[in-house]
Each structure stands twice: as C-alpha cells, then as structure tokens.
C-alpha cells in the first residue's frame, strides 16, 4: 500500500511534457525561435522535442551536436551509431542524418501499451524506426544570420506508415545546429508544416 502511495505521489508531481507558449524561446544558449502557436515540450536525451498532437504523429526536434556526438542516444552501449564530425559538408550531414534515422529500432507495442506499459524511448523509436528514406531538395538556406541548409525527406515507419519531414541546419564553429520536423504523410505533417516554416524563419542567433 505504501508503495502505491509513493507511486501516486511520483506520478502526481512529475509529467513528461511541459507547455511552450506562443512566444520567443531560447533553444540552448546559441539561438532562439518564435512560434505563433503553443506546443508541448519534452526533453529526449539531449534533444528538445516539441509536439502538438503527440510525437508518434508529429514532432519538431531541436538538436545541437559537437564533433563525435550521435544524433540519438542508444540504450545499447555496444551499438555503432553514426557520429557527427565537424568537418562534414551539408550533404555529409544529410548522410549522417539518414544513417541515424535507420539506426533507431523498436517502437510501441499496442498490446503492451493496452496494459499501460510504455517507455519514452519506445515512443521516440515509434516515430522514427525508418526505412526507405528519401532526401530531396537539399539547398542553401539561412539559419538566422548563419549560412545553412534546408532539405525535405520522406520515409516509412516500422509498420509501413508513410512519414514526411523538413529540416533546417547549420554547421557553426564546429557544431551542428539542426531543427527537424516530421509527421505522418496523411494529415499530421501538413497540419503544422506552416507553423514550423514560421519557426524556421524566426531563428535569431545569440550574439
């Protein structure tokens, strides 16, 4: 019984997602963005994740990597994950991004979920776990006042659900600044794409 009470307290005081109001917001110490709509935010092992309908449906991720960092953290210490290198060109960053998406495995099991069992790592994996990744339209673009690049991508999730995405990034002083938005091709990607493009064009680099 005491154990249950402790659990109740734990749950009561702790939520995974916090509110992001529609205003200018710092992303780490390097830049800020402004959104016209409110989002829910979670921290996903070093990546800041924003969503409105739930990360399995759509998610905007803010990533800042240094030389040698992996895009996602793995629970498997032995796993060889692709690493960002400061000498990468934008098209090599795209290669790194694609290889990283492919390296995510696992996901949500509805049967386990209907028993109330799910882990944040499964939710993250459930929204990626990609195959058939196709990148198009890699082009130069502004990341605030920094020179950067923009690309479109599409992929299939583990269950064969089609997903789409856009990304804006910049390699600055040896670090990769990347904003990636993806959602289900049917309905959810389009639902908030405009809001995300607005965020992309609102980047202000901290002096």
């Amino acid at each position: 019984m005491i154990l249950l009470l402790i659990v109740l307290l734990f749950i009561g005081g702790c939520t995974h997602y916090t509110a992001v109001p529609a205003e200018r917001r710092a992303i780490g110490s390097l830049y800020s963005v402004k959104s016209n709509v409110a989002w829910s935010q979670a921290d996903e092992g070093g990546i800041q994740l924003w969503t409105i309908d739930g990360p399995l449906l759509e998610a905007l991720r803010f990533v800042t990597l240094s030389d040698g960092d992996t895009l996602f953290q793995s629970t498997d210490k032995d796993e060889k994950l692709p690493r960002f290198r400061a000498h990468m060109t934008p098209n090599e960053v795209v290669e790194f991004f694609v290889a990283s998406l492919k390296s995510v495995s696992g996901g949500v099991d509805t049967h386990q979920l209907s028993k109330g069992m799910v882990h944040p790592a499964q939710i993250r994996a459930g929204s990626i776990n990609a195959a058939s990744i196709d990148v198009k339209n890699l082009r130069p673009a502004d990341f605030g006042r920094l020179p950067g690049f923009h690309f479109d991508f599409s992929f299939l999730s583990k269950e064969g659900l089609e997903r789409q995405g856009i990304a804006l990034g910049s390699i600055h002083e040896g670090r990769l600044l990347l904003m990636v938005y993806s959602g289900t091709r049917e309905y959810y990607f389009d639902k908030h794409k405009q809001d995300v493009e607005t965020i992309f064009s609102s980047v202000e680099i901290v002096k």
Binding site: D76, E79, P82, T89, V94, S103, A131, K136, P140, L156
Partner: protein, 392 residues
Amino acid sequence: MKRFKFILVFCLLCAVCASCATPRGTPGAPDDMQPSQRPDASSDEAGLWMYMDRIESRLKTSGRVVTDPALNAYVRQIICKLDPVHCADIRIYIVDTPHFNASMAPNGCMQVWTGLMLRAENEAQLAYVLGHEMAHYLRRHTLQQWRTVRNTSTALAFFSLATAAAGVGFAGSLAQLAALGAIFAYSRDQEREADEIGFEIMAKADYEPVQASQIWGDLLAEDEAGGKSARSIFFATHPTTTERIATLRNLADKTAKERSSWTAGREAYLNAIQPFRKEWLHEEVHKGNFNGSMVLLNRLLKDQGASAELHFFLGELYRLRGEKDDCENARAEYEKALQLGNPPPEVFRSLGVVCLRMDKAKEACDSFEEYLKVNPDASDRQIIESYINRLR
C-alpha cells in the same frame, strides 16, 4: 516401480528438452511437413501459425519488400528446383535490408534479406542457405523451439524476436537482436539435422556441395572483423563455429564424390542481382560497420575482379570512416574507379568532398563541377552550386 520411475524421468526429460535429439525417424520425433498441411485449429502449432500469418501480412505492407518480378521469379525457381513438392506452400519475401539473414516461418513464409544476396557469390551459395532454412521448416524446428521456451520467462520475447527478425520493426540495434536471437538459437542437433537435409536437397538439385562451407566461412570472417557490436542475427540464431564449417566441408567432400559435375551458377546469379547491386552496396557502406564492410568489399573485388562500382564504394567506406589517412585512401579508390571507366556519377561529388577536406580547393571545385555536368538532374544541385561558389 523402478522401471516406471525411469520411464517417467525419461519422458519428463524429453518434454523439457523438446529441441534436443529428436531427429527424423526416432520415437517422438515430429513428422515432416506435408504439402498443403495445416495444423489442427486448437493446437499450439495453429496458434504459432496465426501469429506468423499476422507478421506476414504486416511484412507485405511494410514497404520493405523488393517486388521486382524478375528477381522474385529467379529466387522462386531456385526454391522449386530445391523442393518441387513443397515449393507451392512457400511464399518468398525479399526484404530490403543490408544484413545477412534468411529465415522460414512455420506457416511457409520465407524471407531472404538483400544483405545475403549481396554476399552470395553464386546460385549454389544462395541455394544452400535457402535449402538449410527449408530443412528447419520441414522438420518443424521453430515449433520445437517454441515448445522448449514457452515454459520459461523468455517466452514473451519469442514473438518480439519473430517480429523483429521478420524485418518488420527491425532497423538496427543488431547487437540487441543478436543477443535475443541467441536465446532462441537452434540447438546443435537441429543445426546438424538442417545441414544434413540441406545437403540432401542441394545435391538432388545438382548444386555444388562445397559452396555451403564457402559462404559460411566468408560470413564468419566478415563477422569477426566487424567486432562485437556488429554481431550477425543469422549467426546468433544459427550457432556456427569453425568446427561446424569443417564438418560441412567433410560432408561436402563425401557428397561431391557422388557425381562428376555440379552447378555453381555463378554467371546466372551475378546477372540476376546486377540491377540491384549498386543500391545494396550503398546501403551496406552506410551501415557504419567499416571493418566488416571492408572485408566484404575486398572479398568481392578478389572474386569478381576490379570494378569501378566496387572501388567507388570502397572509397565511400574510407570517406565515411574518416580516420587519419582515410581522405587519401578514399581519393585513391575514387581515382581507381575513374580509371576503370563508367563509375557511379556520385564519385565526383565524393571526390570533391574529400579534396575539400584535404584543403585542395581547385581540385574540389573541378570535381563538383564535373558532378553537376554528369548529373544535370541532381536533387542536391543547389547545395553543390553553393560549394562551387564559395570555392571560387
């Protein structure tokens, strides 16, 4: 009373060790799968089939299946050559993933992963692996495995492995899967039985027996080079040691004497996979397993001779590995590819990137320009133009 106890203990042991020595013909051994046979609806086998049917229907719409009619027809004719009696019950799925694996589910769903097809050097090698898997199917080894594990705590993981190994929900963390696979590995007796039946099937179809130990020897070498984190799911579920490969070799020598000429089917095989090799090599080098992939590419170069395609991808491995001297190593491979003629057009882009890294601005610029000339419809044209503008 003593005798009764002994029988009881023996029966219990048999029940516990269901996957142990119950080869064909021994009392209590499962019958061979008969053509068009379906299990009784209330049996545990039927439950297993139902799960496998679900996995199969998900696999069908997963977008990970290679549907090319010619390639599928080619693999299908190998299966029917191996076993004309059962081939009507077998549904083949070529799964697009750069890992070596083949498997057969109890319901007749066979998977061949493109990583396997990239590695086989001839039709006989592919045929052997497929024949080996068919032996597991004919002897119902998966059902035996299920019966052994279902009374243990690892049983629940059985279906997640089946799902993962089905290529659905599988995209990485091979080490995790391999660890899981080790729990459900076929027993040594099951492997021995599959080897023997695989050989029977292969020999009847005229395939050269020595190719069996050849393909597994090659795979083992690659696996060892790749290190712990690149452990293969195939080897996790099919315990393979150098001793077993030696046994396979002896078996091959014995079988080989039965006939004067055998088929390896090298040309037919290389022709069949030619349209797909570039894509499969691309997936392979981007796996991030540089050491393993290098062993593979060097073996293919040795077996098939110099090719612009293979040298280009070897260059890609160096470029992606990015260790000391790798820029130079990559550049050397790209130059070889160019000399051999007709390289993949991406070679110019990659050459530009490594020259950039080596601060050779003019050469980088020239390479990028050549890339755009050769690739007028490049989807990354705009970014490459921006590199050229910055370099000028």
